[in-house]
């Protein structure tokens, strides 16, 4: 089914400058896979070389961190929104 992924500002240059991307998936893992298949430049920003989600990037399903759900296996519904939340440090 089709799910929305919200792309944060720092990653938009690698996602065709889009802020929302629709992907087709049954789980969070499939959704991220579909995302980096559509936008290959995103891959190195989301995943380390061994394919694990980078530790400075958090993935939320609606308002909950998927690390505290079933991680990649967390099922998604049509109305769900996946939010990518990378760390940013700016302040000056």
């Amino acid at each position: 089914m089709s799910v929305k992924v919200l792309i944060p500002t720092p990653l938009r240059p690698y996602a065709g400058k889009q802020s929302v991307i629709e992907v087709t998936a049954q789980t969070v893992g499939e959704a991220l896979n579909d995302l980096v298949t559509k936008h290959p430049d995103l891959r190195k920003h989301l995943f380390s070389e061994d394919g694990k989600l980078r530790s400075f990037v958090n993935v939320y399903l609606n308002d909950e961190d998927v690390r505290y759900l079933s991680k990649d296996a967390t099922p998604v519904k049509e109305t769900d929104t996946i939010i990518i939340v990378p760390s940013v440090a700016g302040g000056r």
């Binding site: 944060p8 500002t9 720092p10 240059p13 802020s19 920003h45 980078r54 530790s55 400075f56 958090n58 939320y60 308002d63 909950e64 961190d65 505290y68 939010i83 939340v85 990378p86 760390s87 940013v88 440090a89 700016g90 302040g91 000056r92």
Partner: protein
């Protein structure tokens, strides 16, 4: 939650009572709350984009003791957002400029100045004189340092960060709540996440986020409302959308978890990979360089040099030296526009992107490519001072 601040010993003069009258008549504040504000000691780390509105509002609200940590000097590019500092302050220490404004707003505030970088050697000592810490810094190393120092000293870290037109805010390191490392266990590798100096920042955005920080600091002092603990507020100023995410305390957190491995402050530059705050030349890419004076001399004697500008078109519009424009990201698909037999000098704004471009070109068989040291900024400084800098 136990009361963070005991205001029972504080006293307010008649002048102060008049000044704070709009607080005193609110049931959420009252005289008791205003005395807590007066008794409170808040440390603002940084007096820049976030620190400006933060410190201004905390001073106006009557926070009794404000600590300011900064080592920086005001420059022209700060003025678009750092509202503590005026045009006439350019070249002054931010601390001097900040103290003038804060004292003018509220002479009843005691200000403590720390004219230094916060580092692993001085952080715990500086934090020890304060009840609440507000993090308005601009780099990952200091973010992790402030977090760990807050956890180790048991003091709340009122956090915000900004990038372009998006911001994040939360309160970390309270007794029951998560810390910054629960949310982000590790920093990004150097160079992967751009800084504000590279990516830009909408001038009002630190205003929005700094005021959110000030609000949370005041709520913590008063002990009212629902503090932003265990919640990450995401602000998108372009869409003007506020979103709230849950942040859980991670039992395996290396600093605040059940079995912490970080029990004292570490070397945060090493932890984050040493990286300048500005877009300096990446240390990982060593490529041949040419100094602006040298390029100028050789161009003046009509040597055959092809100047390639790898910035973005909107930067080219601001200022250019008539180089051929191919943005760094387009270089792989437009490399056929270049002649590998010619000498190519690549430039960008300050040298980081051109180093990457030269590295790429040399790997693609362009043996005569070099990078202009310091970019167009250095060219403007050293060759043609009539050019604008940005």
């Amino acid at each position: 939650m136990a009361e963070l601040i005991d205001g029972s010993q504080a006293t307010l003069s008649n002048d102060e009572i008049l000044r704070y009258s709009r607080h005193l008549i609110m049931l959420e504040v009252t005289l008791e709350g205003q005395k807590k504000l007066k008794a409170a000691r808040v440390l603002c780390v940084g007096t820049g984009g976030l620190g400006s509105p933060l410190a201004l509002y905390l001073a106006a609200a009557g926070v009794g003791t404000l600590g300011l940590v900064d080592f920086d000097v005001v420059d022209y590019t700060n003025l678009q957002r750092q509202v503590l500092h005026y045009t006439s302050d350019v070249g002054r220490l931010k601390l001097d400029s900040a103290i003038d404004k804060l004292t003018a707003i509220n002479p009843f505030v005691e200000i403590r100045r720390f004219d230094t970088y916060l580092n692993s050697q001085n952080a715990l000592e500086i934090l020890s004189g304060f009840d609440i810490i507000a993090d308005g810094t601009d780099n990952f190393a200091t973010r992790y340092l402030v977090n760990d120092a807050c956890v180790l000293s048991g003091k709340p870290n009122v956090y915000a960060s900004i990038f372009r037109f998006e911001g994040q805010a939360s309160i970390f390191a309270t007794e029951a709540g998560p810390c910054y490392r629960c949310l982000y266990p590790e920093p990004p590798p150097p160079g992967l996440v751009p800084s504000c100096a590279e990516g830009g920042v909408l001038g009002v955005l630190p205003g929005l986020l700094g005021v959110i920080q000030a609000t949370e600091v005041i709520k913590l002092i008063l002990g009212v409302g629902e503090p932003l603990i265990g919640r990450l507020l995401l602000v998108d100023a372009l869409a003007m959308r506020f979103r709230e995410l849950r942040v859980r305390k991670n039992q395996e957190c290396p600093v605040c978890g059940a079995n912490p491995t970080v029990k004292e402050l570490i070397d945060y530059n090493q932890f984050c990979g040493i990286r300048g705050e500005e877009s300096g030349v990446s240390t990982s890419t060593k490529v041949p360089e040419i100094l602006p004076e040298e390029l100028k001399r050789r161009l003046d004697v009509q040597e055959d040099i092809f100047v390639l500008d790898v910035r973005e078109p909107h930067e080219y519009q601001i200022v250019n030296i008539k180089g051929h424009l191919i943005p760094l990201g387009d270089l792989p698909t437009r490399i056929h526009e270049l002649d590998s037999s010619r000498e190519i000098v690549v430039h960008c704004k300050s040298g980081a992107r051109s180093a990457k471009a030269v590295d790429f070109l040399r790997k693609s068989g362009f043996k005569h490519a070099s990078s202009l040291t310091g970019g167009i900024l250095a060219w403007a400084d050293r060759v043609d001072p009539s050019l604008p800098k940005y």
